[in-house]
């Protein structure tokens, strides 16, 4: 990954011929000489961002697909699309952008270049992956070492290992961001034909779409249950609540309003008023 990026960089430099500086080494990419565990890692180049945006917003590819294609993690694909969308809005509104700043900063940072497959010189080249897309989060339950006696004759798999740590802990295959890749690879290893694999993939895709649709419908139903009264400056939104939500002791979390014997603490010293969540 890094080697190919360097190669690309060298080719770029060779084009510019009298680039006076040699390409940076790993030592140069370490902003703190004492800390060997921190590196200045490449950022997405402008062209790559544009390509990701086009793939998702224009071609309608799913985030997961774009993530696999460009070697960029799911969250990053989403963020790039969101930011690009905002940028386009700014351009449409004619707002002043920080272009000199952007140019200067991107010149200072290592970048992951975009390999444009439409160009003749890039035929047969694969895109340079930006980061590892299948990062498994270390679950707190797996932090401790376990000694589980197992019969020699037993096939002790990842599923069993997960259960040994915690009853509901899923195996790594299901916890990584791209379980569909594992599934596809498994089918390939099982020796299924191309048509068969295609059919299975379509089936999975349909199931995902169905699930998404159901989620969307639920959100819409929740919104429909709210009663909105538009006013000049603010909209009043009414939500149905029940007195029973306060519970037997009057301290239930869902209960609303002031309740007898339950003091408000928001004026007390040391109460933090900084929001913990801001809706997008």
């Amino acid at each position: 990954m890094a080697a190919r990026r360097d190669e690309e960089k060298r080719a770029q430099d060779a084009k510019e011929e009298d680039a006076s500086l040699p390409p940076e080494t790993t030592e140069d990419l370490r902003p703190f000489p004492m800390n060997r565990h921190f590196r200045s890692q490449p950022v997405l180049s402008e062209q790559l961002r544009e390509a990701i945006y086009n793939r998702v917003a224009k071609d309608g590819a799913t985030v997961a697909l774009a993530s696999v294609e460009f070697g960029v993690s799911n969250e990053r694909v989403g963020a790039v699309v969101r930011l690009k969308q905002l940028e386009k809005e700014w351009v449409a509104q004619g707002k002043t952008m920080a272009l000199p700043y952007s140019k200067a900063v991107l010149n200072m940072l290592p970048q992951t270049p975009y390999i444009d497959p439409s160009l003749p010189e890039n035929r047969g080249k694969r895109p340079i992956p930006h980061e590892s897309i299948n990062d498994l989060i270390v679950h707190p339950a797996t932090r401790q070492q376990l000694f589980v006696p197992v019969a020699e004759s037993r096939q002790f798999t990842r599923v069993d290992a997960g259960k040994a740590f915690q009853n509901d802990l899923l195996p790594a295959d299901d916890r990584i961001p791209h379980p569909e890749l594992v599934q596809a690879e498994r089918e390939l290893a099982a020796g299924l034909s191309h048509e068969e694999r295609l059919r299975l993939a379509e089936k999975r895709f349909a199931a995902i779409q169905e699930k998404k649709k159901a989620e969307e419908a639920q959100i819409q139903a929740e919104l429909a249950s709210l009663k909105t009264v538009p006013k000049r400056r603010w909209d009043f939104v009414f939500q149905d609540v029940s007195v029973e939500h306060a519970g037997k002791d009057g301290r239930g979390l869902k209960g609303v309003g002031w309740r007898y014997g339950f003091p408000h603490e928001d004026r007390k010293k040391g109460q933090v008023k900084i929001p913990t969540k801001i809706e997008a």
Partner: protein, 411 residues
């Protein structure tokens, strides 16, 4: 919190979260912790040094409550391996005496201890500093307090707001340009010199006889000077020179470059002897340059005067040079529109990055930044992965370890 006295002391070096030359010096001078003293002393020093950098604006008590002993980490997985093995292969044959495979390389160590201060990276002011929108955390904090920062489109005046994964924050581009651009005010010495010069100029102007009518001889001389003066010649030649220089920096083939270099050399010589320069030399140089340009502008082989002059460039080269010139033109237009001189701006115009910025320029992977609109998304919490910790900290692993142990409160 108020800025402490002797923020950057040269006697007791402290690394601060800013882009100053003092920080750069302190980072260069940083050494491994001295392990020859009591454990308590070591921990104390590690804590003191690292807290001067991480969350220096936060009170100690607040940080203590923010500290978490669980550190987020990830392990990159190979989907091909996961698909072809179910995990039982790791223990296969162990009971029958099979030892572990020696060819298998041990995975790299996960530097958990460099992640002690990860909760601070969640703070809004720190995230703004990390996305290179402010030159120090204190400045980022000021931007937030002054209402220049939006989170998910809403103004948030709290520098201590802890970002959640997926939060987008925007900073006013003007504020960012101010924070990262070269400052407008010059040093005291430069200001004094310019003031002296100005005063001297004023004196000479007042000394000049003002209302004298120009003599006939002078007028005659002026009449004669329809041709450019030497100074004018020099400036115009310098202009040509910079043009050529700019063309040379863009991508060109070696042969074209040679030609341009020769041309540049001749211009250089002419400038060196500018006192002796006559309008003819300029016109010839200008003619040369415009000829080159014409050659480029000519659309591949149609308008090129093939009869009288030898073809300087091949068609391919022409296209390339044309592209170079177009690029040049585009850049000039871009500068004229986006980076022009403007006295009303609070930073130096045309904008350029401030000194020492490039030494501090890195963007950690937990942020995705769009520099054009000065907005960024906090993707996830910083994580440790084999061989790499995402919290940017200038200290060595031992210091991180000692600081972490200090905050475990078992000292």
């Amino acid at each position: 919190m108020r800025k402490p006295h002797r923020y950057h002391s040269l006697k007791k070096l402290k690394i601060r979260q800013d882009w100053s030359r003092w920080s750069l010096y302190s980072i260069a001078k940083l050494q491994r912790p001295n392990l020859g003293r009591t454990y308590f002393q070591q921990k104390w020093d590690a804590k003191a040094a690292s807290r001067a950098y991480h969350g220096e604006v936060i009170r100690e008590k607040k940080w203590k409550r923010l500290f978490k002993r669980s550190i987020p980490a990830v392990v990159p997985m190979d989907h091909k391996y996961l698909a072809r093995h179910d995990g039982s292969e790791q223990a296969a044959g162990r009971g029958a005496g099979a030892d572990r495979n020696e060819e298998q390389k041990d995975p790299q160590m996960t530097p958990y201890m460099q992640m002690t201060y990860w909760p601070i990276e969640r703070r809004l002011d720190t995230a703004i500093f990390r996305s290179l929108f402010a030159s120090s955390v204190r400045q980022a904090r000021q931007f937030v307090v002054h209402g220049m920062v939006k989170v998910n489109g809403k103004k948030v005046p709290y520098p201590g707001y802890l970002l959640n994964p997926g939060d987008m924050f925007q900073v006013e581009p003007e504020a960012v340009m101010f924070a990262t651009g070269a400052p407008k005010t010059r040093s005291a010495v430069a200001r004094r010199i310019s003031a002296e010069k100005k005063a001297a100029r004023g004196e000479t102007r007042t000394n000049e006889p003002k209302d004298q009518e120009p003599s006939i001889a002078e007028l005659a001389a002026k009449e004669k000077r329809a041709e450019p003066t030497h100074t004018e010649l020099k400036t115009s030649m310098q202009e040509i020179m910079t043009n050529v220089d700019e063309v040379l920096t863009t991508e060109l083939k070696a042969k074209d470059k040679q030609k341009f270099r020769e041309f540049r050399l001749s211009v250089k010589k002419a400038i060196a002897k500018w006192k002796a320069a006559s309008p003819e030399t300029l016109s010839t140089l200008d003619a040369q340059f415009s000829f080159l340009k014409e050659q480029l502008a000519a659309k591949t082989g149609t308008a090129a005067p093939s009869g009288d002059a030898e073809p300087l460039f091949s068609e391919e080269d022409q296209a390339k040079l044309k592209k170079a010139f177009d690029k040049l033109k585009e850049k000039a237009e871009y500068d004229a529109q986006w980076n022009k001189r403007d006295a009303n701006k609070p930073y130096l115009t045309p904008w350029r990055p401030r000194d020492y910025m490039s030494a501090f320029a890195f963007i950690p992977r937990y942020l995705e930044v769009n520099q054009n609109i000065c907005a960024a998304v906090y993707l996830r919490h910083p994580v440790a992965r084999p061989g790499l910790a995402e919290v940017p900290t200038p200290f060595s692993y031992e210091t991180g370890q000692l600081a972490f142990n200090w905050y475990l409160r078992r000292r």
